[in-house]
């Protein structure tokens, strides 16, 4: 079920480029939202949610890279791993970092991810060439996704505010699971020998938009009306990228037909 096991998936967009977009885009979104938050009465909180999109794309691409080496059933697990690493590191970073909390949390998550990759390759002997890089990206993507969605819910990157309006209320459950499915679902849903990077990453943008909608709904319970904007923005992004995804499905599929009997076997 995997793409050319052992060879890795062909990519048009370089991982380094996606890494820069993901980390910088995500952190800029988080900082902009928390800086503009008090001035705009939390109407800027949707910017943090938008920053989640490049981070989810980064995460989905690293799931794609790592899982192309034959980890079929491990796709959901690696998505959970991403947010698992992310939540611990992000909260730790926020708790001790103050203003630089989000940067610290992301850096710790990436370091933590690299270490897990190293253990997986050296101790468990997975011998996947991109494992360290992949888990490093996953940790970073998980931390930024979690932080971005949490800031969208609470309107602030302050640890106390997130603790009160995201963790104590239980919305962390929605943020966690929606964020992890946003990262793992794109490659899982497109898995197969004819998977293409642009289709998977376009799909990642649409799943990130769904996570934004989910966080936006939770935000209505905490910051109120401004969060409706997050829901609307997420919904608009989803419509655009779902349509793009459908176009790419039509491009890649053997046939998109209204109905029909069993297709003829290719063999």
């Amino acid at each position: 079920m995997s793409v050319a096991a052992g060879g890795g998936a062909p990519s048009k967009v370089e991982p380094m480029k996606l890494r820069i977009y993901g980390v910088v885009g995500g952190l800029v979104g988080i900082y902009l939202a928390s800086l503009l938050g008090p001035m705009t009465g939390n109407w800027a909180s949707f910017i943090a949610a938008l920053g989640v999109i490049p981070a989810v794309v980064l995460g989905a691409n690293s799931v794609r890279r790592v899982c192309s080496y034959g980890i079929g059933t491990g796709v959901p697990s690696i998505g959970m791993l991403a947010l698992g690493m992310g939540i611990v590191a992000a909260m730790f970073g926020l708790a001790i970092g103050g203003v630089i909390g989000p940067i610290l949390g992301t850096a710790i998550a990436m370091g933590f991810g690299y270490l897990i990759g190293l253990i997986t390759n050296k101790a468990i002997k997975f011998n996947i060439p991109v494992m360290e890089e992949g888990t490093m990206d996953l940790g970073g993507a998980g931390a930024i996704t979690l932080l971005g969605l949490s800031v969208a819910v609470s309107g602030s990157a302050d640890y106390a505010a997130i603790q009160m309006s995201v963790i104590a209320t239980g919305y962390i459950a929605v943020v966690f699971i929606a964020g992890s499915l946003a990262i793992l679902h794109p490659f899982n849903a497109n898995l197969g020998p004819d998977e293409t990077q642009d289709r998977t990453l376009t799909h990642a943008i649409s799943t990130a938009a769904l996570a934004i909608v989910a966080a936006g709904i939770c935000g209505i319970g905490t910051i109120g009306l401004p969060s409706v904007l997050t829901v609307i923005v997420g919904f608009l992004v989803w419509i655009v990228y779902f349509k793009k995804f459908f176009q790419l499905v039509k491009r890649d599929a053997a046939g998109v037909v209204g109905t029909g009997l069993l297709p003829p076997s290719a063999q």
């Binding site: 959970m80 239980g170 319970g221 046939g255």
Partner: protein, 301 residues
């Protein structure tokens, strides 16, 4: 235990039974989780099909998402807008069902598009007819689980310390895990391989050779839901209903704060009794139905 708590406990057990059954059938319509590997493999070994390929993730994470989204939305409506709980939960489950529909649709389209070289088409009529069925079952699951979480978080005399969305996520994981381990066997091992002797297990050479034709015409995944609703769904419902009922029963008859040891001891006794019962059931089934005609006994090492 007072009558009020006993009534709530019974309601939770009943809700969990319905949730388990609907969860299993929802996953069977989409061929999610364990049986999915065979649906995915079918086209690759020369059997393109019209079965729904809903590869979202394992059942636990996906059900955790539906239930967490339903509970999160319901909590916003209850706490922010002071809406009635039942209506809020119903609306929350509707939002969760929409999420389910999107994830299911993209999984079907994505997986089939990635099998282009094996002539696996994307059938839009399959999407239109099946996705709504899947969403309807997901709505029932999310509704029941959110009701259970609401009872635990707000109504029980001793409310749960966790907030509602978190409880819903945990129960979502649990219902997915139980659906995956209990009900999938009925669909994956039996329905997909009705062309092999009943109960024979899956021979490696039969991998991917799933039944694609029905009694009349081409088999659809809704046919599979009809089949699984007879046994797999109810069995999953019973398993999950018992899990929720027994787990909460032991914490209701004893006070977890002061009688923690008794709560744990009751749990251990329940596990021991269930293990003995399972062993008896297995022995009975082996004696009555096995060994299979071609089975010649264990080969000595």
């Amino acid at each position: 235990m007072d009558a009020f708590s006993m009534g709530l406990l019974a309601a939770m057990g009943a809700l969990a039974t319905v949730a388990g059954a609907s969860e299993d059938i929802e996953s069977d319509v989409g061929s999610q989780s364990n049986p999915n590997s065979q649906v995915q493999l079918a086209a690759q070994v020369g059997f393109p099909h019209r079965i729904y390929n809903k590869a979202i993730s394992g059942e636990p994470p996906s059900n955790a998402l539906w239930c967490a989204v339903a509970a999160g939305t319901a909590m916003v409506l209850i706490e922010k807008f002071a809406m009635p709980a039942l209506l809020s939960i119903a609306l929350g489950a509707a939002v969760a069902a929409l999420f389910n529909g999107v994830f299911s649709t993209t999984a079907y389209m994505g997986r089939n598009a990635s099998q282009a070289r094996f002539n696996q088409y994307v059938f839009l009529d399959v999407l239109r007819t099946h996705t709504t069925t899947i969403m309807a079952h997901a709505w029932i699951t999310a509704f029941c689980i959110t009701c259970i979480s609401y009872i635990m978080a707000y109504v029980l005399p001793m409310t749960h310390p966790f907030p509602m969305p978190l409880i819903a996520m945990i129960w979502g994981l649990a219902v997915g895990a139980i659906g995956s381990s209990t009900g999938d066997v009925h669909y994956g091992a039996e329905r997909e391989f009705q062309n092999t002797p009943f109960g024979a297990g899956l021979n490696t050479m039969d991998s991917g050779h799933i039944v694609r034709e029905a009694e009349a015409g081409v088999r659809s995944s809704i046919d599979n839901a009809w089949f699984c609703a007879k046994f797999g769904g109810p069995a999953t419902g019973m398993a999950f209903g018992l899990t929720v009922f027994l787990d909460n029963w032991r914490a209701t008859i004893f006070d977890p704060a002061t009688q923690g040891v008794l709560v744990v001891a009751t749990g251990v006794v329940i596990v021991i009794i269930l293990n003995i019962y399972n062993k008896m059931l297995e022995n009975y089934a082996r004696k009555k139905y096995g060994p299979y005609p071609e089975y010649k006994g264990d080969i000595e090492a």
